[in-house]
């Protein structure tokens, strides 16, 4: 009997129309858990480094996490794994909502899609019945609308549907996949789906998922529930810069909270350029509070989560849609629009097109800057309104339709800049590994963020950080208070690090935390993210927030009760480490090297190039990687990844003696 997982994947070859239900190897759970972990193994085994995003050999995997469909709170994540058209590295955007659990109930852990369909189709999975259905009537339809149309066509109001919009169909490099209140949006998985001619995937399942020790699991969940209830009533105060993030449990609670003074004055507007320290006036506050309270009709949760961090948006003149998280601010800030009403307008359109809310606003702002600098001309902008709102909406349409200048912009700032030329490259100032980053520009180099930006495979900072405060806590008293109640820590030594960390002076950024301590903290944070992404848990319950309900001391019990796997903390860390190194090796095999690992040059005003190299070296060493950021043979062998080391050696990526010389 398989517990928590179904033990089956669905293999779909779009080129031949062949569909197979394939039993999976039960030993994989102990090696990789599930979700992203087992996806990595499949990608390593089956997608060669020569394969590009839009090759038929590229896989597009919709995977549930190991705990999805069980009673574990917030286990709602679908991870979509493929090669990114933007970075040519692994893309693995995650979405909450309802799809992953439904897939489990239909009897599958993953849907693995290869090849390309000859015409637009959607995949309909109803327990054992799986069909590729004609989607020609859905061509050009919005990603939100499509979900409804499919449910109606199938007469299955309980089917869960993930769909792409026009942007995905047109292979915009930062196209998203939309599902219910959630989106898998980073790194262009929607474009790969469009390239494969898959408009949507619809699932309905009515089978059982078995639990190894259900009684025990329920007791653990009762505890988690009590914890969340307590935190909801007593939000965290210390080290919480704004209550939306970490005050209470959940993904950033942008729908519940209206006070945006912290984000709007601290983050950079336009093409990640200007901080507006005086922005949050009484007048603005009134406008924003009023706009938001009116627009949100209901708070909406993902599957099996009480934290309702999403909102159903109802704004005059705009079709209803659901949103969550930081998209509330990205478009308005990039467009320099001070009226929050604009957010509801543009987000509905962008979500229906199926576009990533981090990359898209940056690309549009980049285009506006190029126009203002005379690099893009009136001819490129012919027909474009002159006001900020109109301009952004017009550009958004061009991108999704790949019309005129939109065709270039559809490839993201990095490629667009190089194709436009005439100095446009200098305006591509906020990408890492060709991927647009959060709109933040700060003063002093921060060693933790330096490492996270540089090295993490997510290539998106918001999803790496989490358990450690974003900045030093100002007063000693507060630091002492903060460490008192911190059972989530993997090791007591971290308390001292936090106590010693000061906002200014000797024990402050950039030289404190030291490179070694920074490595430990970053490693701990990303380990948690790797665990969440394999289990399919919301990061808002674990890796992304301070003092969360799930942590290294209770994950093993939860996993074990649900799956029957005998697991302790050391064992779990070992699995996370194995997944992390396989992930890294996969990207190394595709060319990722030390030279690619750097934050945008203007991310901080005060930089320390030599010290930064020292940081990177310390971190690589800590991870057991060589000087190029490639896992050493010794490290790989210790993680049962000898086959990976052999492959890297065969390709000349790891060479003899490198371990000793450079690690």
């Amino acid at each position: 009997m398989r517990y928590a997982e179904t033990g089956y994947n669905l293999e779909i070859d779009l080129s031949t129309g062949n569909i197979e239900k394939v039993a999976t190897d039960p030993a994989l759970m102990a090696l990789h858990l599930g979700g992203l972990g087992t996806d990595l193994k499949i990608m390593w085994d089956r997608v060669l480094p020569e394969t590009k995003a839009f090759d038929p050999e590229n896989l597009l995997i919709f995977s549930s996490g190991l705990l999805c469909g069980t009673p574990v709170y917030s286990a709602s994540r679908t991870v979509v794994t493929t090669i990114s058209p933007q970075t040519d590295l692994l893309a693995y955007p995650l979405m909450g909502g309802f799809l992953a659990a439904e897939l489990k109930y239909a009897g599958y852990d993953k849907v693995i899609i290869r090849g390309k369909a000859s015409k637009l189709v959607y995949i309909w999975i109803h327990n054992d019945r799986v069909e590729l259905r004609d989607a020609s009537a859905l061509k050009g339809k919005g990603a939100i609308e499509t979900q409804e149309l499919i449910r109606e066509e199938l007469k299955e109001p309980k089917a869960q549907v993930a769909a792409i919009g026009l942007a995905g169909e047109n292979k915009v490099f930062y196209a998203s996949i939309e599902q219910s209140r959630s989106s898998a949006s980073r790194l262009g998985a929607g474009a790969v789906m469009g390239d494969k001619n898959v408009k949507a995937i619809a699932v309905r399942g009515t089978k059982d998922i078995y639990l190894a020790r259900g009684d025990e699991l329920m007791k653990l969940m009762a505890r988690a529930r009590a914890f969340v209830q307590h935190r909801n009533a007593n939000p965290l105060q210390i080290a919480v810069h704004s209550p939306q993030h970490s005050g209470i449990v959940g993904s950033t609670q942008e729908m519940k909270y209206t006070d945006e003074s912290w984000h709007t004055t601290g983050f950079a507007w336009g093409n990640a350029r200007t901080r507006r320290k005086d922005f949050w006036t009484k007048e603005i506050e009134d406008n924003w509070v009023n706009s938001q309270t009116k627009a949100i009709r209901r708070f909406i949760s993902c599957f099996n989560c009480p934290q309702e961090c999403g909102g159903l948006i109802d704004h005059p003149g705009v079709p209803r849609f659901m949103m969550k998280c930081f998209s509330k601010l990205t478009y308005a800030m990039a467009a320099y629009v001070d009226d929050l009403d604009f957010t509801w307008k543009i987000c509905q359109r962008a979500f229906d097109y199926g576009l990533d809310s981090f990359s898209t606003p940056q690309v549009l702002a980049f285009a506006v800057e190029l126009y203002e600098a005379g690099i893009l001309t009136d001819a490129d902008f012919a027909g474009c309104p002159t006001d900020q709102e109109g301009r952004f909406l017009w550009l958004l349409d061009r991108v999704a339709r790949r019309e005129g200048i939109g065709d270039l912009l559809a490839e993201g700032t990095y490629y667009a800049a190089r194709k436009i030329g005439r100095g446009a490259e200098a305006f591509d100032h906020n990408t890492i590994k060709k991927h647009e980053q959060m709109n933040i520009k700060l003063g002093m180099l921060d060693p933790l963020y330096y490492l996270m930006y540089s090295t993490n495979e997510k290539i998106s900072i918001t999803q790496i950080e989490g358990n450690w405060p974003q900045g030093a806590i100002a007063s000693r008293e507060e630091r002492e208070e903060f460490i008192k109640d911190w059972p989530q820590l993997p090791d007591e030594k971290f308390k001292q690090y936090l106590l010693d960390w000061e906002p200014r002076g000797e024990k402050a950024n950039p030289f404190y935390p030291t490179p070694e301590i920074s490595s430990e903290i970053v490693d701990w944070m990303e380990t948690l993210h790797n665990i969440d992404d394999a289990l399919g848990l919301c990061a808002g319950w674990g890796s992304f927030i301070l003092k969360p309900p799930y942590h290294i001391h209770n994950y093993p019990q939860i996993i074990s009760a649900a799956t029957g796997l005998a697991l302790d903390e050391a064992g779990l860390k070992q699995i996370a480490n194995r997944n992390r190194n396989l992930h890294r090796a996969f990207n190394n095999r595709r060319g990722l090297r030390r030279a690619d690992e750097k934050p945008p040059a203007d991310h901080w005003k005060h930089r320390y190039p030599e010290y930064e190299e020292e940081l990177l070296t310390a971190y690589y060493k800590f991870k057991g990687w060589n000087n190029e950021g490639i896992p050493t043979k010794t490290r790989l062998q210790a993680l049962n990844l000898a086959y990976v080391a052999e492959d890297l050696e065969r390709r000349g990526i790891l060479t003899d003696g490198q371990d000793e010389k450079e690690s």
Binding site: G69, T70, P71, Y73, F98, A101, Y105, I144, E148, P157, K158, S180, R181, G205, T206, K207, D208, I209, Y210, L211, G214, D215, L217, M218, R225, V228, Q229, N232, R297, R298, F299, I300, S301, C302, F303, N304, C305, P306, E308, L312, D314, R320, F321, M322
Partner: protein
């Protein structure tokens, strides 16, 4: 008929507060699994959340009585401009619909208020006060109520006819 005191257990459904998370379906289906908590399957839950998120409908319906025959008429609801499937919000376990039936056997599912627990479990897990539990006493006429087994058999009888059922029972008796 004699009068008797009866404990009436109610769940008040404050649908306006529902966020559509389906935690109630999950706990219900796992509590009623045999053995208890050995599996999960919301399709077996005795509370079902009718969701049409964009239309602002998130509506938990708790399984009511088994209805041996379908109603004479059908109910249609139009809420916020959206027309719902006939009988979408009905609590009855009825031959015309799949809701509140075991997915593999078709046996009826009925809310039993989680017998043995202090409070129904859906009420316990819903942190958003959508489901509120109350008990009160009422005077009612004493009556003979069919027990659960009888109800299940009645449902099978309605679906398959006496002859077929008798056949199967005879065969099973032989094997045993």
């Amino acid at each position: 008929m004699a009068k008797m005191k009866k404990k009436v257990k109610t769940i008040t459904v404050n649908a306006d507060k529902c966020n559509g998370c389906r935690a109630c379906e999950i706990i219900c289906s796992s509590f009623h699994a045999t053995p208890k908590y050995s599996s999960v399957n919301p399709a077996r839950s005795r509370i079902q959340v009718v969701s049409h998120r964009l239309k602002d409908i998130m509506f938990p319906v708790v399984a009511g009585e088994y209805a041996p025959a379908e109603c004479m008429g059908r109910d249609k609801y139009i809420i916020a401009g959206k027309e719902y499937d006939e009988c979408a919000f009905c609590r009855a376990v009825c031959s015309t619909r799949d809701i509140f039936k075991e997915p593999d056997t078709g046996l009826p599912l009925k809310c039993d208020m989680c017998e043995g627990e202090d409070e129904p479990l859906c009420v316990q897990v819903c942190l958003n006060d959508v489901l509120v539990y109350e008990e009160r006493e009422e005077e009612v006429e004493a009556e003979d109520k069919p027990d659960e087994l009888e109800q299940s058999l009645q449902a099978l009888l309605d679906d398959h006819g006496l002859e077929k059922l008798a056949d199967i029972l005879a065969r099973m008796a032989e094997k045993a």
